[in-house]
């Protein structure tokens, strides 16, 4: 090759090799995308080559570009299927890209070679700059079209399905706290780039199909692309098992009316049996354990594994199982130097970005299915005021908020833990009865359930106890309100992310609860000894869960915070000195709420001391 034209042609060819390699790998090897991406202006310029913007190439590709020293060397890209069970590898596809100079005898033998005038013209146009430029542009245009065809074919070949399965599993396992299911594939995809191809065995050839793309003529030779692929992957039994198979909730509880006492709580909770479809039940937070799988019978939980004590083991198992795919990073055979970055893809398994597998840039749109899945599973419900089940006693919930402030009727019901924590005579009889009732309801359920579930239920009660600050303020003692919105929202988020009976990650309330839970503990023991009918328990649990989930968020009102006057003050009004309590609405954890409660208590004490009002003693610290 001589002159500028040969330089430009060589530039086209080398960039074509890199671009095609990127197209193939982006469509076949998910874990490669988890590695670092080569950014910068150079990558952005390279991305515009052939008018096909795929985003920044993987960093490993940069080294591959260095490896490909000569455009005359063919590039063979093998897409490998690695099966976990047999620890074997099979070639699913073999892409071969070759630049054949005109001097080689094979340049004129391709049947689909474009019209010969271009080839004949090269002999005359080599000295004509305009003709050479035209040839160069024509070559570039044909490379553009060829790459489009390769891109489209990659999505039509059978191996694309395997890639999609693996991509989905990779994405889900990297982000278990999102609302996707944990998935596990029994295979992995890798690749091998070399300058020569090991011939297939006869058996492999029989299972392969072959497609040759039309060669692209250059001024000095031609570029050929071909693919050999397995047309049937059924023999490999590629599977992607889901830990949380999707299921339709036929009796979704969307309102208290839907969770009536007639609905039966699931009676069978197998520990080591297969997955069981739950019966219609309002309490879908029950976790089912079967073969190491967890159920997601209800729509609130998008990641039921997130906070459950067993979730760690599950996730770790899946992650460990998935990690071997990182072992099969890029490999280069044929006597070439092993690249230093060969393990980049393997070690960066957990860095898989939330982006389409073939393009990390924001512009291209992801495959619609994953996006839909992500959007579908990220469902939230708006807070709804939930009435308590009337159990013969005073309907406390509907009254408790009014004890303190009529405007705060949207507050969630008081919790047993609140009353236990206060343990004060100031609590109204209604609150005490509610506490008793609720404690009975919850504890009745506990003995019948697995220990993990009981723990979850206890933690659900802890969550309800986050509202203790409000109730204690409602209870007449001059407590400054605090914002429950954060804890409520975070609890709701927890519900969205996990089973409502899952362990909450707030430790403080749990500790405090146990420290002050003497009276309630005895109540629970008494209650646990008498088991009511399973139907009422289910209904109560369902109601409770529903209440906890859809209770309105905490709200910090000025009016509420200004109620710093006098004992038994349970109405709005009073002291306008209400210091710094401002209305805000933020999602925070229970610990933050408790901290705030303490601070407001201090403020209250300070105000009281200033006002000289007669209060029944100092604020209680938990």
């Amino acid at each position: 090759m001589a002159g500028a034209e040969s330089g430009r042609t060589e530039q086209i060819i080398s960039n074509f090799f890199l671009k095609l390699l990127q197209v193939v790998l982006d469509s076949r090897v998910p874990h490669l995308l988890a590695g670092s991406r080569a950014g910068g202006d150079k990558s952005r310029k390279r991305d515009r080559w052939f008018n096909l913007a795929l985003g920044d190439p993987p960093a490993a590709l940069e080294n591959l570009g260095l490896w490909h020293r000569s455009v005359a060397d063919p590039m063979v890209v093998d897409v490998l299927l690695l099966r976990d069970a047999t620890d074997s590898e099979s070639v699913l596809e073999r892409w071969t890209v070759h630049y054949e100079p005109s001097s080689s005898s094979s340049s004129s033998s391709h049947p689909s070679t474009p019209s010969s005038p271009f080839r004949a013209a090269t002999a005359f146009s080599s000295s004509s700059a305009e003709a050479a430029a035209a040839f160069y542009k024509r070559t570039y245009k044909k490379c553009v079209v060829l790459l489009r065809s390769v891109y489209a074919v990659l999505r039509l070949l059978p191996a694309y399905k395997a890639f999609r399965m693996l991509s989905a599993a990779t994405l889900n396992n990297l982000h278990p706290h999102h609302h996707n299911q944990n998935q596990n594939c029994n295979f992995n995809l890798s690749y091998r780039v070399s300058s020569f191809a090991e011939p297939f065995t006869r058996a492999e050839e029989d299972e392969m199909k072959h497609y040759d793309f039309a060669a692209v003529e250059t001024q000095f030779g031609q570029i050929t692309v071909s693919v050999v692929y397995r047309h049937d992957l059924s023999e490999f039994n590629l599977e992607s098992s889901s830990l949380f198979p999707p299921r339709i909730i036929t009796d979704y509880v969307c309102s208290p009316a839907a969770a009536g006492p007639s609905r039966a709580f699931p009676s069978s909770l197998p520990s080591n049996e297969g997955f069981v479809q739950p019966a219609s039940s309002p309490a879908r937070g029950i976790l089912r354990f079967g073969s190491g799988h967890m159920s997601r019978p209800h729509s609130w939980t998008s990641t039921p594994m997130a906070h459950h004590p067993l979730s760690g083991s599950q996730l770790s198992a899946s992650e460990l199982h998935a990690s071997p795919m990182g072992v099969f990073g890029q490999r280069i055979v044929g006597g070439h130097q092993q690249l230093g970055s060969s393990r980049k893809g393997s070690t960066s398994f957990n860095e898989y970005p939330l982006s389409p597998p073939f393009s990390p840039s924001p512009s291209p749109s992801p495959p619609t299915h994953s996006g839909n899945l992500h959007r579908r599973l990220q469902s939230e419900t708006a807070p709804v005021t939930i009435p308590l089940p009337v159990t013969g006693s005073i309907p406390v919930y509907s009254r408790a908020p009014n004890l303190s402030d009529p405007t705060r009727s949207s507050l969630p019901p008081p919790s047993p833990r609140v009353a236990r924590a206060d343990n004060s005579s100031e609590d109204s009889p209604e609150i005490r009865s509610f506490r008793r009732v609720e404690g009975f309801k919850l504890s009745e359920i506990s003995p019948s359930l697995p220990s993990s579930l009981q723990k979850g239920i206890r933690d659900a009660r802890d969550d309800s106890g986050r509202f203790s600050g409000v109730l204690s303020s409602c209870g007449g003692s001059p407590r400054v309100g605090f914002s429950r919105s954060s804890s409520k929202l975070s609890f709701q988020d927890d519900l969205d992310d996990s089973c409502p009976f899952a362990v909450d990650d707030v430790d403080v309330p749990d500790t405090q609860r146990r420290a002050t839970d003497g009276k309630a503990a005895s109540e629970n023991q008494l209650a646990s000894s008498s088991v009511s009918s399973w139907t009422s328990q289910e209904a109560a649990v369902g109601m409770l869960v529903h209440m906890l989930k859809t209770a309105p968020p905490l709200r910090q009102d000025q009016s509420y915070s200004s109620r710093a006057a006098g004992p038994g003050h349970d109405r709005e009004g009073g002291g306008g000195s209400g210091g710094g309590a401002s209305s805000f609405y933020a999602a925070r954890r229970a610990a933050d709420a408790l901290e705030e409660l303490r601070s407001y208590k201090e403020i209250k004490d300070m105000l009281l001391s200033r006002s000289g009002s007669h209060l029944p003693g100092p604020s209680r610290e938990r």
């Binding site: 079209v145 489009r148 891109y151 399905k161 291209p364 749109s365």
Partner: protein, 218 residues
């Protein structure tokens, strides 16, 4: 410059499948012809286990949906008729206005004929006919999954047909615009609402007059 014409394999579809089939085919063709800078967009077909590629051209997508809707309406009004959608790419040449032609002349350099045959949905869950015994009635029952699988296979063949045609015919393509988002001018033609097959032919003649030279049928 030659006008390359490609008649795609006819597809047997049900009415509700027409839109999705046309989307797969038209987007695939356009992706191979939108040769300016594109950011490809993978789309999973709603009805089939096929992923096709869109060029990301919003204008094309809007035109496509509009034409597909019109074609769907036409099929509803003309049941048991074979429908044909024509996707044409042309160059614009300025020409002196005359009595019969516009000032702007269109030189078509590629045309794609997409043929669909809308069939009535076959009875499912068959009740055995009086003349047939129960086993035969069940044998005549058409599995909906098999018809969709067959159509999916045919659709995949059509997409491969597009790839092969694009791969083999490259010389007739005009110079590629270098600007992002600028593609070759195109036209999607569907049978008109009051159309019969003869009127469709009249549209073709009009197009020929406009283009100034007859199209070369393959």
């Amino acid at each position: 410059m030659n006008c390359e014409v490609c008649h795609l394999k006819e597809l047997e579809v049900e009415l509700f499948q027409v839109r999705e089939v046309l989307r797969c085919i038209l987007h695939t063709i356009f992706f191979h012809r939108a040769l300016s800078l594109v950011r490809p967009k993978d789309v999973d077909s709603e009805l089939f286990d096929i992923t096709y590629v869109q060029s990301g051209d919003a204008e094309f997508e809007k035109n496509l949906e509009e034409k597909v809707d019109h074609f769907y309406s036409w099929l509803e009004k003309h049941p048991n008729k074979k429908g044909q959608v024509l996707l044409s790419f042309y160059e614009v040449k300025n020409k002196q206005a005359s009595w019969f032609t516009d000032k702007v002349e269109r030189l078509y350099w590629e045309q794609w004929y997409i043929n669909v045959n809308v069939s009535r949905p076959k009875p499912r869950g068959g009740q055995p006919t009086p003349k047939t015994s129960q086993p035969q009635g069940e044998a005549h029952r058409v599995e909906p999954g098999s018809s969709i699988a067959a159509l999916e296979s045919s659709l995949r063949e059509v997409l491969f047909q597009i790839v092969r045609f694009v791969d083999e015919k490259k010389d007739h393509i005009p110079p590629v615009p270098n600007l992002e988002g600028v593609s070759f001018p195109y036209e999607i033609t569907i049978p008109s609402r009051s159309d019969t097959s003869s009127s469709f032919g009249v549209d073709m003649i009009k197009r020929l007059l406009r283009s100034g030279h007859p199209s070369m049928l393959s």
